[in-house]
């Protein structure tokens, strides 16, 4: 078996699952200032992702860990090459992680506003940066001998990578909105606002995706090498993206979320498919390209990782799915009726 290729696809799967899962919790954070009008609504939005975000985040740590063990040269070249970007991501994730827990600890308006701003920025930076990184992977980095980065701070800031960042940010907002449709009390005003937001941000997301595809075709080699069969995935991504719009109109909440999830998954796989068998193309010449051949670990390490991954990945997916099942109920947004009755009795 070709373990290096297998691990390339497992890494792809980690990123696909990460963007699918953390995509909506980033999205919910990014939408919060636009959707919530009072503290109760803000709280309800946080509660939709409360039991999940921490588990979602682990997928990116797994992606990084898997790259380290199976493609060490890729790991070093990517993280060192994009050093400032990863520093920003780490700082953002620190702020965001503590924001969730610290926000509820002190009952004061300024305290909450501080953490709300932190978690907004903490979601925006990684949402944008990961898109930029995906685009930079496609575009290639100026890496030379031994995977050493030769560029400057702004080498990877191009219209294409900026469009990549914009695309993931807007797609995650759309994805967050369709997630909220599934999670919020359908009778609430917040639910109706989430639907409008999905349509509104969905339009921008679609434009961004089209722009990314256009630039990817014209300026980069993404899609160029695709044969007829490889066009199936980008075509599916396009179809599901259109499907979101349709299902939103039909008010089929489950379908909308399924469609936005599939859009993200198909898009990620498309990007990696365009990359294969390279893992990090060099803009300084094909001789410096990192590929699944020259960047991979030795067979014994890959074999070992396959065994362990084969045991634990299904287990993890199983208990995470169960976690989602346990907390599947919709989140109440408005004050429960019974309390209002008590209050009205009290004032009689």
């Amino acid at each position: 078996m070709d373990y290096a290729a297998l691990w390339f696809w497992i890494v792809t799967a980690c990123f696909a699952i990460y963007f699918f899962l953390e995509g909506f919790d980033f999205g919910v954070d990014l939408l919060r200032p636009f959707l919530a009008r009072n503290e109760r609504e803000r709280k309800a939005l946080i509660n939709t992702i409360g039991p999940f975000w921490d588990g979602n985040e682990v997928w990116v740590i797994l992606a990084a860990g898997a790259i380290f063990a199976t493609f060490p040269l890729w790991y070093g070249a990517l993280l060192t090459g994009l050093y400032p970007l990863f520093t920003l991501i780490l700082l953002a994730l620190i702020g965001r992680g503590v924001a969730f827990e610290f926000r509820a600890q002190v009952d004061h308006r300024h305290w909450r506003v501080f953490w709300d701003v932190t978690s907004f920025i903490g979601s925006f930076i990684p949402a944008f940066a990961w898109g930029l990184i995906m685009a930079a992977l496609v575009q290639g980095l100026p890496i030379g001998q031994a995977g050493v980065y030769q560029g400057t701070l702004t080498s990877y800031i191009t219209p294409f990578t900026l469009f990549g960042g914009l695309t993931t940010t807007l797609l995650f907002m759309l994805h967050g909105a369709t997630f909220l449709l599934l999670r919020l009390d359908t009778q609430s005003a917040l639910h109706a606002r989430a639907r409008s937001a999905a349509l509104f941000w969905g339009a921008f997301a679609t434009v961004a995706v089209l722009g990314f595809v256009y630039l990817g075709y014209v300026r980069e080699e993404l899609f160029r090498s695709f044969g007829l069969s490889n066009w199936v995935l980008p075509a599916l991504a396009a179809l599901t993206l259109a499907g979101i719009w349709l299902s939103l109109r039909l008010k089929r909440d489950g379908l909308s979320f399924a469609m936005s999830s599939l859009t993200i998954v198909f898009s990620v796989v498309t990007v990696f498919l365009g990359l294969f068998p390279k893992v990090l193309p060099s803009t300084l010449g094909a001789a410096y390209d990192l590929t699944i051949r020259n960047a991979a670990s030795q067979p014994y390490t890959l074999y070992l990782m396959t065994i362990v991954g084969g045991i634990f990945l299904p287990l993890i997916i199983g208990y995470q799915a169960w976690n989602y099942y346990v907390f599947r109920h919709r989140i109440a947004v408005d004050e429960p009726k019974i309390n209002q009755e008590i209050i009205s009795h009290g004032t009689d």
């Binding site: 999940f52 990084a64 860990g65 827990e101 600890q105």
Partner: protein, 472 residues
Amino acid sequence: MDFSTLELSRFQFATTSIFHFFFVPFTVGFAVFIALLQTLAFVRKSDDLERLTRFFGHLFFINFVVGVVTGIVQEFQFGMNWQVFSNFVGNIFGVPLALEVLMAFFLESTFLGLWWFGKDRLPSWLNLSFIWLVAIGTAISAFWIIIANAWMQHPVGYEILNGQAVLTSFWAVMTNPKGWQWFSHIFAGGLTVAAFFVMAVSGYHLRRKHEIPLFKTGLHLALVLATLGSLGVVASGHIQGQSAVRDQPMKYAAFSALWDTPEGGSMPESLIALPSNTQNRNLFSLEVPYLGSFLAFDNLYQKAQGMNELQAEMVKTYGPGNYIPPVWPVYWAFRIMVGLGGIMLLTVLWGLWLWRKGQLETAKGYLIFLLIMPLVPHLANFSGFVTTEIGRQPWVVQGLLLTKDAVSPLPVAYVIASLVAFWIIYLLLIGLDVFLLTRTARAGMHPPDTELASVPAPDYTLGSDPVKLKGS
């Protein structure tokens, strides 16, 4: 002094690792304490003990979350600041790291949420199993990262192929005796950190006569754990020191400030010394005869090699260079660690003696003394970290890769900028953590009746109880 990428990267690694290391042993030990407490609540079917579990759970989260977010930095910085190291060791070092994520991180993050939020949604035996899964997860996580570190300090099961260290036996890596010694040392250390924290909080409330029976249980359970923990720390520490003589003689000589191989019939142990790295000798040293031989070899006559002799041997093996670590910090950090361990042991004995006399909950002096004790194991952990990590310099992988050769070719400005940013964020986090921990710990528990008036809408942020909305 001129700062280079190497020095700044080392400083950054030390910063992020030590900061992370303030939270991790605490989390590991605290999870065990909470799991034990909830087991007690489950067996006794006690709602009150359940309430105590939730109270300490709340404190656990504040700490846990900082541990998690700083752990992400830990995972990424190998590639960011140490590209050459990552390329060299990825085949081996990456595996335990990936295993840590697969076996522990997912387990902790998922079941912690299920434990806290699923309390009224799932049967209580299932809820109890969740906290045990979290406790096991934190321990597994510590285990794999220590196995990875142990490989760097005592490489096993590898061969060098095309300039990379390549795995030949994962079994050897997994059963690296260094790893198991360190794991037991750090696990025991974690128990003491958590136990002294719980003792301080319980003592504080006992002195104020809050919920006396409950905090009595907390104090008793924590004292038992502190006893096991501090004895475990001493025993595993001793085993470790003896194995260092064999596996990392240079490190051992550094923390003993042993420059020259002793000439007499035995090896003394230095109690107080002023080691000088420039003159390769001690400017002053107060020594106890025979003690060194006894501690290192359990007899009175065996001797370890001094640093000067080891240096000469290493120059022969690895070529010219300075292979002696900075002795001053290693020597003193080691002594501070041992001294603090002694204070912990005495505190435990004092507590046990009071307990036996039936005065543990009322001994005002002891309860006040306990308030400063949570700092002591933290400082001991910090000193232990300094001892073991500076003690192995200049090697990042013992005998295979020097630290100075492992660093990423980064512009100095990048590292300065990130270092400043991390320091600002970390100082803020420490401040917030201490503020929230003391605030929550002092607030104590809500009386049982407000628990019954549970609010219909659950609150899905870890550590925040719906009960907190009392009075609304």
